[in-house]
Structures are given as C-alpha cells and as structure tokens.
Point group: C2
Chain length 258, copies 2
C-alpha cells in the first residue's frame, strides 16, 4: 500500500517550531508536503487574498526530512487552495493538517484562528482535515508531550475517515509535570474574549490602540474544549461550516410580518 | 422613547456607496454612528488585528446626515470591537448593521466575508446584528430596490429582537425589471467555490498567482439563500457561531480507540 499523502500548513509561518514538529510527526506516517505562509498569520480568521497576487516559492527548510516545502505570501486558507491547484495538481492529499499552533484555539477562537481556517478550508475542499494547537504562546514552547497524540489522531482519521465537511479542532494543554490524561471528544465552549484596548500615543503624539483582553469562560459544562484542556486532556472538537441557526428559523418566520 | 442607537460598519471601506445607502436608511429609524475600515477589506473573513496597532480617526463623510463617523485602520471585526470600547463606551448599540456589501455573501461565503464577520462579531458581543449584501459587485451598483427591505428588516429586529448569539445574513438580488418578490427565511446552501488560479509572470519574469473561480451550487433545496436570491427574493439566513459538528461526536467516540 502506498503511503498517505499529507499536506502540512499552519498560521504561525513556515519557520515556526510548531510546524516543524508537525512535519516531523507526519513524516513517520506518510509522504509529506509543506505549503505554509511566509510570515505569521495569527488572527487572520478565514481570510483569503483576492485583491493582490500570491507568490508560491520553493524552500529548503525541510530537506533534511526529505520533505518538499513551499512558502506562500497569502493566508492559511490561500495555502490550502494553492497547494490543491499548483502543488498536488491531479493528486489529492489524503489528509490536511495545520499547526501546531503556538497558542490555544478554544471556544469561539475557532472563528479568529488562521490554524483552523486552513483545516476548515481543507474540509470544504473535501479532504479529512485537522488543526492542532498548543495552549502555550511562547516561541520556544515545549511540544514534546504532543507528539504521540498528534500521530494517534492523524492515524485514527486516516484509518476511519471523517464525515465529509468536518474538520477536527485539536487543542493540547501546555507541558506539565503530570502526563496528559487522554483524549476527550468535546463541543466548543460558550466562552468569549473580553477585550481591552491599550490606548497609547505614537512618537508624534497621535493616538493608537492595541488589542488586548482576557478569555472568559462562563460555560460550566464538562463536555467542552476549555474544560478538557484545563483538566490536562487533549480536546478534540469536530467542526463544520454550516453557520445556519436552524433553531431560530421557525421563530423568525412566526414573529415577523413578512 | 429615545431613538435606537445603531452602529454602521462594512468591509468595502468607509467611502463605498453601499455603506452610504445603509447609513441613510438607518438614520430614518435611529441615531447612527459609522465606524468603518479606511480601505477595502473584502475576503478578510473573521480576521482581527493583533500584531500591529490600530488607528481610529474621525471623518466628516456623513456630516450632511448629522452622523458621526470614524475610519479605522483594521478589519471589520476590529471596527466593531473598537466602536464598543472607544466610541460607544458606556452606552451600547441597540443594533449593529454591516454593509451593504457590493457582492453577495451566500452559502459558505459567510466564512470569507468581512461584512458578515462584523455582524457575527456584533452577535458575539451580545448585540442584535445584521449583515446586508447585494448580489452585484460593481462599484456603482444600484441599491435603490433594497432600501425598503433594509429598513423593514432592521425594524423587525429592533421590535422583536434576535436570539442571543444570532446574526442575520441578508442577501439582495441585483436590481431587475421585476420587483423583488418578498423575504424568505433561509438556510445556508451547500454550495462552494471552485477556484482557479491565474498563473502569470511579473515584469521580472517571476511567477505569481491570482485567485479566481466559479460559485457552484449542487444544493437543489428551495429553502436556501442561493435559491431565494436566484428567484428574486431577499434571503435572510440566521447565523450562529458554534461550529461544533454535534452529529459526529458520538460516532467519533464510538469509532476511535481512545
């Protein structure tokens, strides 16, 4: 049997440590191609580039692993689209993986996350897709405790498939003394960001703002991604991209004078 | 009773015709403040700006309507966040409206749409929110047939409220000889973009790519947003931001060796 073909991308950029770990682990189970942004794309959500051209340039960053790699001037979603059309061409990846993100993508953060937008783009294109994130923002975050789980989850998806249009959002707790307790299949917590903006003056006295804020979870459920990571489990949320609020359709039809 | 307080934003930028129409109509029913991007942000999805500072600068573009306006250097989602914290401050908008977008935001386009990201950001912040789009990309698109419906839908939402966490995605057919037939409450169609990339050479002989493609709808349902706009109805899709694929959770728990 030929090895599965795996596309690796991310949103922190092609030189980040997280994508290096992901490419290493994937190379143990398949034939890997890396197509990743040439610069950090955190917070890009599901942005795509339509107003300007895109560059796609071969790199040698992963040659030691025998992995072909390309850097792309666009967003994570652009990387998946360009990989499909101009790297894989008439082949199709058996798996699209994105990450490992430096920082968690829990609860509503899935909407803002470039990591997950690549995975959801993969799902839209019809490929089994997984986004991986580690709840540790630091550049030199320790990913060692994630490797076995990254591999196990990818192997489960390759062996058993995913419902069409579904991508997995996988979040790891930060490295701790205690070993990770296991994997939980979760729902997205009803948590949100409470932003603050730092209000500053530039060197010319003109005001500017910088987005900051705290993550607030009022969702007491023990079946959420936030609960799982807080309790040292790997959180796996299956995600889909139909945003329709079906439960409100009948009510609006009833209430409105239309 | 005091007039409702309405935040108007968009993704085509503060000088576009669509936001002008939206501000005019909203000024007939409430007290309006415009906070919109200083440049086009189409395709920005739910991007937020975290790696650089944001500017928020008063404008006089809407002074003739007695409307305060601000241009923002960030994304549509940034505009809503900055408006909340640094324009409205201790007040809250009674309604957040985004648009009117030059171009439709149907089916899965809701994920890529800056127009809808502003509306969904409004919903996340707890405000009743509506994104309006016209299925006509042109700069000088005719919005005249949308005005009555834009107003009616905003008034319905102000009078009857929206379920918390739900934003409306409203799409108008382009101006035609026949009058619009009415409003349909719809679900998001299972349609997608089939991309192509134009592969070109720059003046220095280096390759670049430009995203293009066609919108393909294989969803035969007559309850979808695509069907409604194709048949000269106003499509209203209630949207929510829980991406969990609940229907696959039990299956994954069953299938996986965890």
């Amino acid at each position: 049997m030929s090895k599965p073909l795996i596309l690796v991308t991310n949103d922190d950029g092609i030189v980040s440590n997280g994508i290096r770990v992901l490419a290493e682990v994937m190379s143990e189970i398949g034939e890997v191609i890396v197509v990743a942004p040439d610069s950090p794309q955190s917070g890009m959500g599901h942005a795509i580039t339509i107003g300007e051209p895109l560059r796609l340039i071969p790199e040698d960053l992963f040659d030691d692993l025998n992995i072909k790699s390309y850097k792309c001037s666009g967003t994570p979603a652009d990387c998946v689209k360009l990989a499909k059309h101009h790297v894989f061409k008439d082949k199709s990846p058996d798996l699209v993986v994105s990450g490992i993100n430096h920082g968690s993508n829990l609860a509503v953060s899935v909407l803002y996350s470039g990591t997950m937008s690549a995975a959801i783009e993969g799902a839209i294109e019809g490929y089994p897709s997984i986004g991986y994130s580690l709840a540790d923002f630091s550049h030199d975050a320790d990913f060692s405790h994630t490797r076995d789980y990254v591999k196990q989850i990818a192997e489960e998806v390759l062996a058993k498939g995913l419902t069409k249009g579904v991508a997995l959002n996988v979040n790891f707790p930060p490295k701790q003394n205690e070993k990770i307790k296991g994997i939980k299949i979760c729902r997205q917590a009803k948590a949100h960001w409470e932003e603050e903006f730092d209000h500053r003056k530039d060197p010319y006295g003109r005001p500017y703002f910088w987005l900051a804020g705290n993550f607030v979870n009022n969702d007491k459920g023990e079946d959420t991604d936030v609960w799982a990571v807080d309790h040292n489990y790997v959180a796996v949320v299956p995600c889909q991209y139909d945003m329709t609020a079906y439960h409100t359709m009948a009510q609006i039809n009833d209430d409105w004078e239309i």
